[in-house]
């Protein structure tokens, strides 16, 4: 039957696709601390982001800016060597206010993703 052939082809393709060895994909932001859009009572010493894929350190960046656009991170973001899905950004001592995070991630298979979010210190 033609339907059986079509569905069979789909099943074979799905099996090959889902079983493709060592495939990687776009690194999506899974969660962050401070969380996306959250308010935290005290200034965090660092921002940590967890991604859905391992990151390529050479091409992965993140910056944190205040409402005036001034950088408030203390240096380049660091991919955690023990867990390459984790990205750390050390922060200066943050006064109350709203801060914007901009990240650019390259997963190890070279797909890029970008994102922006804010968090607020001290109720903003």
């Amino acid at each position: 039957m033609v339907t059986h052939r079509t569905i069979g082809a789909a099943a074979v393709f799905a099996a090959v696709a889902l079983g493709a060895p060592a495939v990687q994909a776009h690194a999506f932001l899974d969660h962050a601390s401070p969380a996306v859009g959250s308010s935290v009572p005290a200034a965090p010493a660092a921002l940590t982001m967890w991604f859905t894929q391992q990151l390529e350190p050479a091409f992965t960046t993140a910056t944190v800016t205040d409402q005036a656009g001034n950088l408030v991170d203390t240096g380049p973001a660091q991919v955690d060597p023990k867990d390459p899905t984790e990205l750390h950004v050390s922060l200066k001592k943050l006064p109350p206010g709203t801060y914007t995070v901009a990240w650019h991630a390259l997963s190890v298979d070279t797909h890029t993703t970008t994102g922006h979010f804010t968090f607020t210190v001290g109720g903003g």
Partner: protein, 304 residues
Amino acid sequence: MHRVICRGIAAAAVAAFLPGAEAMAHGFAGDRFFPATILTDDPFVADEASLPTISLNPTQSDGSRELDVGSDLSMLITPSWDFTLSDQWAHLRAPGMPATTGFGALTTGTQYQLFINPEHEAMALAALDVTWGNTGNVQNLGAPAFTTLSPTFDFGKGFGDLPNSLPWLRPFALTGNIALDVPTQTETMGVKNPDDVFYGFAIEYSIPYLQEEVRDVGLGPPFNRMIPLVEFALTSPFNRGYSGTTTGTVQPGVIWAGQYFQVGAEAIIPTNSLSGHGIGGVIQLHFYLDDLFPNSIGRPISQW
């Protein structure tokens, strides 16, 4: 300083030795990911495959009902240009008649990405589809004896650039397309073949965008990758005696978009009696070939 230089060298090495470094991604415009919609065309070129798309259409006015099993393939020729191929197998059951089965017409196409604007999460493409005559084996299942040309314009716009005072609206996105269907024969065996205009829209609300860009509301799998949407599509013949016979469907549903594939399901609701009655449904399994096979069939044939 030393660290910066080392990073630069590492970056150059990655760019030089990893194939397709900073690869073109399917459906991204800046921070926005557009899923592949089921009813309406996508506004981006990509290496992707829908296999299968299974539709049980609403009952037609003559009491007949059709089940379709379709497949679509899109392959990049260059990062901005692709070709497409689609066909479907259909099973038609009409009251008092034996069931009819067979393939519909083969459709091929080519698409060119006109622009992608990351800042405003906007993109558009131009396409030309050709539905080839005499390529299906059952004429009453949509396999005509004539070829139809369909120039198409597709667009997508995310609303992430709305002001921060409207945070809950920023996950919305709109995609749409408008096409002109021009049969190469104006009449076949005494039956007029009208030109028609096809227009469709999809309104999407991206839970991934909500949680990654606006507010982490704590939704976990599978809800954190879901994109509820409503699709609309209408076909309006406008000449050769068929004016005023617009047909169409409204299709509310949801798409779950994973790392390598997505799954979508929608209800099919006819817009008027000419389009049928009752409710149908469609499900689709869709693969991101660029993520599954980044070093082979998931890459453009040429980087030109």
